[in-house]
């Protein structure tokens, strides 16, 4: 369609909003309520423009012609129009520059400011506030209203993480719409009417895992991040765009640091990955970085005590020991969120030491790179049949949001010259959702089930059976029997429906996580099923770079050299990065026998207690590097200026070791690692775009699957992935206040049987690891099952735990 904005003529698609036409033409109107990815509602009346269009004669069907000019006559709307809710028409004329429009903008700013307090000097939004900017650009500069302003509550803690200043709210409704439209948790709304209306919740707190996003887009300082309250002004922060490493999604984030501390994390835009959203775990989970007890200098054990030292001394010390030992017996363990560059460095070091004992952890039984057609996150958002296996909302929270995007049935918006459209007219408030396209199967009732058309709670450990039955039916090798379906907590109709939906869909996607990856049979079965029904696959790896490290083959040369074996004595010397492996009592025993234990970590823990050398490590926010997310997308990491003493990443460690050995190892710096990766990948990682690079899918043949007689997947305790990084929770005060200690969730019936009450603290040993948890009764957990958050050292798995071994903490103290 042809439209004319002031003097610019442009050709746009039907359905575009007038505000987007204005921005596409390079003009500007002020706006407060429009927000990318959300429905336009025309609440703020700020985007007024003079809009007109030609008309056709009713009888002749011809354009009505202006007699003077001989051109089609433009009929202007009688009033100025909110351009965000007006769709363009053929030949539309939009005027944003006339005096009439300017006066209206002045007037609207004046109205908005009538009740807005003069808080700018103390408001955390100051300097990055849309109202400030718009009042400056479009306002008259002074107000004629001299009466008292409205008074309302000034610091209402919506939750431990978010502070609401009700006086500052300009009623744009972005936050209200956000909760309904994006995560689908309706937790906020307007209360009262007119000038008295304010934002509030029904209950206390915000029961959602995506609350922090409202602080990013609230146009004023009404909703603010409590963790960074008064910590700095917007112009004082160093903004670093990087990627979040808290889960396998790798959302784009902006790290705001000041004087060497991370004060807050905001969501950044990646239209391919997270749109504009991040989860609360990723946003608020950074406080540990600035904890006082952070390790900042290398330590060497001398006379039984760890004493401060330098990297050079530490490297020389390690080198001496390794020389005595015959380096071949050395093992290297990386955490699975190490960057690709660190992976290269580790591989180079392993090659130099001629050892095959190299691995990353957590690493589950099956490969995180799906064999078959890989799905991207945008595939998920445009899918018309989705099967989810597991609890994605906790494992990879943004996948949960992208699934909910698909439920709206609106494809991701096409980018315009000014980026994501400001007002996508296809989106509506309270849209009907096509829940029927979503099937969620999990061993317990998970959050996403509320949004699914069909849900299935199967007994934990029966993933293989479930997938095998589906596969059989899909291949026409046998009906699903009533009895088998019952065993899986389902019915033949439900499973057949699911199959029909998947195979009948244009773009079906199967999403699976840790519960499937924990058994290679289950993973093989899901890949075979995807092939049979023509679905794409999205596998959620345990950590941010599980995909990348596996693709780079940071793997042992032989199965007998896996992490588990290294921790059971296959290595004589060990270099461990980022994992508290000594949590496991049996591993700790083996570690004590080691000739040399080098620990590369940011905090002291049980493993550093045993270490001969402790080297300070950079956290995810301080590294430069690249990770590969669950879709196979290379994403850049940029270092934020954090005061971290002498911390180094693994590349730094390899550099110092290499120097003492007298060689220049590949991966001794990020640059050197990238040189090697460039040869390997034909991709220059230093020039990676902000949105990353999707590695070309190698459509490998799906692996063969044959149902064996029996699988030993049994247990009564399921370690579940969680959005919160429990290992750092004690150092994340704000998150801790909201989410509390790790919980052991179990069915009320079981709790009664065990005489356990909500809030009881229990201590127990789980496969050698001492765990403590708070009892939480929950109907979401089936009888006979317990749920406990996984740790990096104890990834998702199904285990046995005698309920009698649950010792209430008070009793445990007495026993001790």
């Amino acid at each position: 369609m042809k439209v004319k904005v002031n003097d610019a003529e442009l050709e746009l698609k039907a359905g575009t909003s007038a505000i987007d036409a204005i921005f596409a033409a390079g003009y500007d109107v002020p706006y407060f309520c429009s927000q990318e990815y959300m429905s336009p509602i025309g609440a703020c009346r700020m985007c007024l423009a003079k809009i007109g269009a030609p008309r056709k004669d009713r009888d002749s069907g011809e354009w009505i012609i202006d007699e003077q000019t001989g051109e089609p006559k433009i009929f202007f709307f009688p009033n100025l129009m909110a351009s965000c809710t007006t769709a363009i028409m053929e030949g539309m004329v939009i005027d944003t520059l006339s005096k009439e429009v300017k006066d209206a903008q002045n007037g609207m700013i004046e109205f908005t400011l009538v009740n807005h307090p003069l808080d700018c000097p103390t408001c955390d939004k100051g300097g990055a506030c849309e109202l400030q900017d718009r009042a400056y650009e479009y306002g008259a500069g002074q107000s004629r209203f001299v009466f008292d302003k409205r008074h309302q509550e000034k610091h209402h803690a919506l939750s431990e993480l978010i502070t609401l200043d009700r006086e500052r709210c300009i009623h744009c409704k972005r936050c209200v719409r956000y909760f309904e439209e994006i995560p689908g948790d309706e937790v906020l709304d307007f209360i009262e009417r007119g000038v008295h209306s304010y934002i509030g919740t029904l209950e206390d707190g915000l029961p959602s895992n995506f609350t922090g996003n409202i602080t990013d887009f609230c146009p004023v300082g009404a909703l603010l991040d409590s963790t960074s309250r008064f910590r700095g002004r917007n112009w004082e922060y160093d903004h670093t765009r990087s990627s979040c490493l808290d889960c396998a999604v790798g959302c784009a984030i902006t790290i705001d640091a000041r004087t060497g501390r991370i004060e807050r994390i905001k969501a950044a835009r990646n239209t391919q990955v997270n749109n504009d959203w991040i989860c609360d775990g990723g946003r608020f989970g950074h406080e540990y970085v600035d904890a006082d007890e952070r390790l900042k200098t290398p330590l060497i054990r001398r006379d039984g005590k760890l004493t401060p030292s330098t990297w050079e001394e530490a490297a020389a010390f390690i080198n001496d020991k390794l020389a005595d030992l015959g380096a071949k017996e050395t093992g290297i363990i990386l955490r699975a969120d190490a960057t690709l560059e660190e992976g290269v460095a580790a591989k180079a070091l392993a090659a130099q030491l001629e050892t095959g004992q190299l691995d990353h952890f957590p690493r589950l039984a099956a490969s995180v790179i799906p064999q078959g057609v890989r799905a991207t996150l945008n595939d998920v958002a445009t899918s018309d049949a989705i099967l989810v296996l597991g609890d994605v909302s906790e494992e990879a929270p943004i996948v949960d949001l992208r699934i909910k995007e698909a439920l709206k049935g609106v494809t991701p918006p096409e980018l315009m010259p000014h980026g994501v459209p400001l007002a996508d007219l296809r989106l509506k408030e309270r849209m009907p959702r096509q829940r029927e396209i979503l099937t969620v199967a999990s061993p317990y009732r998970c959050d996403l089930m509320k949004h699914a058309g069909s849900t299935l709670t199967y007994p934990a450990g029966t993933e293989v059976e479930l997938l095998a039955s589906l596969l059989q039916a899909a291949n026409g090798e046998g009906e699903i029997s009533e009895e088998a379906a019952m065993r899986l907590g389902s019915s033949p109709e439900q499973l057949n429906d699911l199959l029909k939906r998947l195979s009948g869909a244009k773009n079906p996607v199967i999403i699976y996580g840790a519960f499937v990856l924990a058994a290679s049979e289950a993973s093989n079965a899901v890949q075979a099923l995807a092939k049979a029904v023509g679905a794409k696959l999205l596998a959620i790896g345990p950590m941010a770079n599980s995909y990348g490290l596996e693709a780079l083959a940071v793997l042992p040369s032989h199965a007998r050299y896996s992490v588990q074996e290294m921790l059971r004595g296959s290595a004589k010397a060990l270099i461990v990065s980022g994992l508290d492996v000594a949590k496991d009592a049996e591993a700790a025993k083996a570690l004590k026998e080691l000739e040399l234990l080098v620990v590369h970590d940011s905090f002291a823990n049980a493993t550093t207690e045993l270490a001969h050398v402790v080297l300070p490590a950079k956290t995810a926010y301080e590294k430069e590097g690249t990770v590969v997310n669950l879709e196979g997308r290379y994403l850049p990491l940029k270092p934020a200026p954090v005061e971290n003493g002498q911390s180094e990443d693994f590349c730094g460690l390899v550099k110092f070791l290499g120097e003492t050995m007298g060689t220049r190892l590949e991966g001794r710096s990020v640059r050197s690692a990238r040189r090697l990766l460039k040869k390997r990948l034909q991709l220059d990682l230093s020039e990676l775009s902000e949105e990353g690079y999707l590695s070309p899918a190698k459509a490998k043949a799906a692996s063969k699957f044959k149902l064996k007689e029996s699988y030993e997947l049994e247990g009564n305790l399921l370690l579940t992935p969680s959005m919160i990084r429990h290992e750092q929770l004690s150092r994340n005060a704000h998150l801790h206040a909201v989410y509390g200690d790790a919980a052991l969730r179990l069915n009320p019936a079981d709790a009664v049987a065990q005489d356990l009450n909500d809030g009881d603290v229990v201590a127990f040993e789980l496969q050698g690891i001492e765990r403590q948890a708070v009892i939480k009764r929950s109907e979401a957990v089936p009888v006979g099952l317990m749920l406990l958050p996984a740790l990096p050292e104890q990834p998702a798995a199904l285990l046995w735990l005698e309920p009698t071994k649950l010792i209430k903490a008070a009793v445990a103290e007495v026993l001790a």
Binding site: P121, T122, R229, F230, R231, G232, R233, W235, E236
Partner: protein, 174 residues
């Protein structure tokens, strides 16, 4: 040039010879300072005793010499430091960087920071030039060095100047 001209010139010289000298025997005698002279900063208080500074960092943003560092925090509602929610937990000015331009005073929305008359800021060590809140809040007299000196000698701080009143310097008493 004629003899007359020389005589005229000498006349001027002679005239000055018998005038009262303008030289001040500083530091034994105080110098007279004009009311708008810009010297060391004062952080002022409201008559209620609360600090005027609300920790907004606007002075730091305006400072052309990057001499100011402010770190704010939330007031304890039961025992507030300043009116409102926010106060300056740390407020520092590096007097070595400061060029006494007065921009900070201009930027301050509450009139909390005002350049006073003290100019005797010489000191020995670099860190001693960083003035914190306790060095600038009203009631503190003299530079860090002057106060150290006075304490060592068990005397009052002696300022080397006299100044006329300036209304912006509310509560400052030289």
């Amino acid at each position: 040039m004629s003899v007359l001209d020389i005589a005229k010139g000498m006349g001027v010289t002679l005239g000055h010879l018998f005038k009262k000298p303008v030289t001040v025997r500083y530091p034994d005698e105080p110098v007279d300072i004009k009311p708008r002279f810009r010297g060391r900063h004062h952080l002022l208080r409201h008559p209620s005793g609360l600090e005027k500074c609300i920790g907004c960092s606007l002075c730091a943003a305006a400072c052309p010499a990057y001499a100011i560092y402010v770190e704010a925090a939330e007031n304890d509602p039961n025992d507030p430091t300043s009116p409102g929610e926010r106060y300056a937990k740390i407020y520092e000015i590096n007097m070595l960087r400061c060029i006494f331009c007065g921009m900070c005073e201009e930027a301050c929305p509450t009139g909390a920071i005002v350049l006073g008359h003290e100019f005797e800021l010489a000191d020995f060590r670099y860190p001693d030039f960083v003035y914190g809140k306790e060095d600038m809040l009203v009631g503190t007299k003299g530079s860090k060095w002057q106060r150290r000196e006075a304490q060592a000698k068990n005397e009052d701080v002696k300022l080397g100047f006299k100044a006329g009143p300036r209304p912006e310097l509310e509560g400052v008493d030289y």
